[in-house]
Symmetry: C2
Subunit: 418 residues, 2 copies
């Protein structure tokens, strides 16, 4: 069978499975997830063996140490994968939840009930743990999933899918519920992105290039974020110690992720005191600063920030710094250069806190807290399947609820329309 | 200026206006809407004069009487338009509503707040009242709107936009908030559908051909429904009088709309009694029936329903009728032939009512009520901007809330991530 026909067959199986999944009880899904955790642990040896093939090939191809690290499975990472399966089993089931219900003047009782989206395609890069995480979240939310991981992880991903599918079969759930695309050809992705008849949503997870390629080719709705140019604005009269703690955390706790701070905005009234203080701490943490002209009058040794730096997602220990006249200028800067991802204000001023929350329409807006909290787990969604910086369907971190939609359910007693 | 540049300019103005609209107070929006109602009434003469040009041209082009009727404005229809503006002013403002808020273990208070989508493009056929309705709903929800009506209504639509824009200016709201595309060239729509940089959502309103053309060309997310093949299932033991009333209402109250019944499914246990009864009433209302073999053993004079008839949205006084063995077969029929629009069960059986509500995943599912209630006003959304039979972002009738998304707002007191 050629690549195209095989992908169509996978998509068709997924759609068939989705109609079964939509009506599985929470217990049935949770038992399967729990058994999957045990099966993953039981098959640790097999997984490490199959993963070793991927790792060896990656070494031969000269992949970076960081990429090989993300690709490698060992007993510890496999235990982590199993634990996250059990965690998903413990989350509340979003399906069937009636989010609101009201009575109409004619007596009709109208409610909205959560139902699954149907079939979800996930396209991602090398980490095999994403295979399990995404499969678990889709199963829990009653969706069938088609997983297309990086070709570097193909043996690991096929091994994982085999283990999960055996558990599905044991639980009389169609194997089509969780499928990995087993071909490494690019053609397979292209074909997948045409199948709007079978697939309801595509979620790409990875770098900006991957995401742009998916968006350009897809005939299916895509939920995406290209990048996170996250800002922290330190207001006049902020608690400077708190501001330093948050800046250090937002920039250095994990600089390579999308919710790390990339630009620091500082009110002119406290710049003279705050900038030398925060620069010293950031410097100790190895952060290189690039500043606007006014910043460089205070921090004389730092590099000049160029116009393009304000748009930059460094994903590294580099930070753009600008002094602003007031809150308006800070909001204006974020509106012009931001990516609708995550912004935080550090302030003790009530009005400014409220204004920042109202006026900044990024997907996550914080007062006196680190940008690093922009994350499904941290916000209490229980999980994270991805993050959206476009406003349709979901905006910000996406949990299980974002893998559902609502239908109207209506209880009548003979009403007709007049 | 050529068509393309002009459309880009319109889209750019809309985006600029959207940032202002997002932060307008409810009062400011409601005052503008109320003044628009008065301006429309004051300009009745002008509107009728401009509309007469469209009507005359439509007559010359030989458009059907029904189309000319929908196109024509008179004092009565203009009063109706003004009233609907006032009605929208009275609806609650969705923007700024915090839909939920919860505290995290680390003390962060996390909420979700409604914000506008941004810029919405509406593409529709000839009725000029849609111009005003859509403009009002977008303004109320803080979105800028670009309206592209049918070329038959171009003079009416331009006149309406001029009146609304003068009121906007009086209220210091940018004119870019409400714009009509003033060119009749098809090229203008094609260009509009490419401008994902400026336009956040496209809503086509019209026949299946219009919608398919928009979906095929659009680079922007489209919320759509192609057709409504709505079912009524009359269960064994249903109240037959209620069933007749609902069937008559669902089929004949307005047969040309998407929430009218197109297929009647009848449980075999009551078919012998119910079918002659309902056939007599439907016949008196001028409805022509097409039946399955078993139906035709009871209603001997009716035409045979062919396989393709089960997929048919007649939009006319024609009805497909099938006898099914049980609820399972009814649900299976709807799953196979339905359009995810609206389905109703008529039953006195508690279990079957609950099963139908749970198992049928169409956008609107009713018990003992007419399919005609699948409508934003009737369901209590206060308004209807369109209807979606695809599951992303909105599913079913869309009101003001569906023109918004939510951002996360987070109140902290110095939290950092560990």
């Amino acid at each position: 069978m050629d690549v195209t026909s095989r992908v169509v067959e996978i998509a068709r199986n997924a759609k068939k499975a989705a109609t079964v999944l939509a009506h599985l009880s929470s217990d049935a899904k949770d038992c399967a997830l729990s058994d999957m955790a045990e099966a993953i642990i039981r098959q640790t040896g097999l997984l490490i063996k199959e993963n070793a093939k991927d790792v060896e090939k990656a070494r031969k191809m000269g992949l970076s140490a960081a990429m090989i690290d993300r690709l490698t499975l060992n007993e510890g990472t496999i235990e982590g994968i199993a634990r996250s399966l059990k965690d998903v089993a413990c989350l509340p089931d979003p399906v069937g939840k009636v989010t609101s219900m009201w009575r109409r003047p004619n007596g009709l009782l109208v409610g909205r009930m959560r139902i699954p989206l149907g079939v979800i395609g996930i396209i991602y890069e090398s980490r095999p743990n994403v295979t399990v995480d995404a499969a678990a979240l889709c199963l829990k939310s009653g969706n069938a999933v088609i997983l297309r991981g990086g070709s570097e992880a193909i043996n690991s991903n096929i091994a994982i899918a085999n283990i999960l599918q055996i558990v599905l079969t044991d639980h009389a759930i169609p194997e089509g519920a969780i499928q990995v695309i087993p071909m490494i050809e690019r053609e397979a992705v292209r074909e997948m992105l045409q199948l709007g008849e079978y697939i309801d949503l595509i979620i790409p997870r990875g770098g900006e290039d991957l995401i742009r390629a998916v968006v350009n080719e897809s005939k299916i709705p895509v939920i995406k974020h290209y990048k996170g140019v996250c800002h922290v604005y330190v207001d006049a009269g902020a608690d400077l110690e708190m501001a330093v703690d948050i800046c250090i955390n937002a920039k250095t706790q994990r600089p390579g992720v999308c919710n790390a701070m990339e630009t620091l905005l500082v009110h002119q009234g406290i710049a003279g005191e705050f900038l030398p203080l925060v620069a010293r701490h950031l410097g100790e943490a190895g952060v290189v600063l690039k500043g606007c002209d006014r910043t460089r009058q205070i921090l004389k040794d730092i590099e000049q920030a160029k116009e393009e730096d304000w748009y930059q997602e460094y994903l590294d220990l580099i930070l753009s710094v600008r002094i602003v006249n007031d809150l308006d200028e800070a909001v204006g800067h974020i509106e012009k250069y931001g990516s609708l991802h995550t912004e935080s204000i550090i302030t003790n001023n009530y009005q400014n806190a409220q204004r920042f929350l109202n006026e900044v329409n990024s997907s996550t807006v914080l007062v006196n807290a680190s940008t690093r909290f922009s994350d499904g787990f941290e916000l209490g969604l229980g999980a994270e399947i991805g993050i959206s910086t476009t406003k349709l369907h979901a905006f910000g971190p996406m949990g299980l609820e974002e893998l559902t939609t609502t239908k109207f359910i209506i209880y009548g007693n003979g009403q007709v329309r007049t």
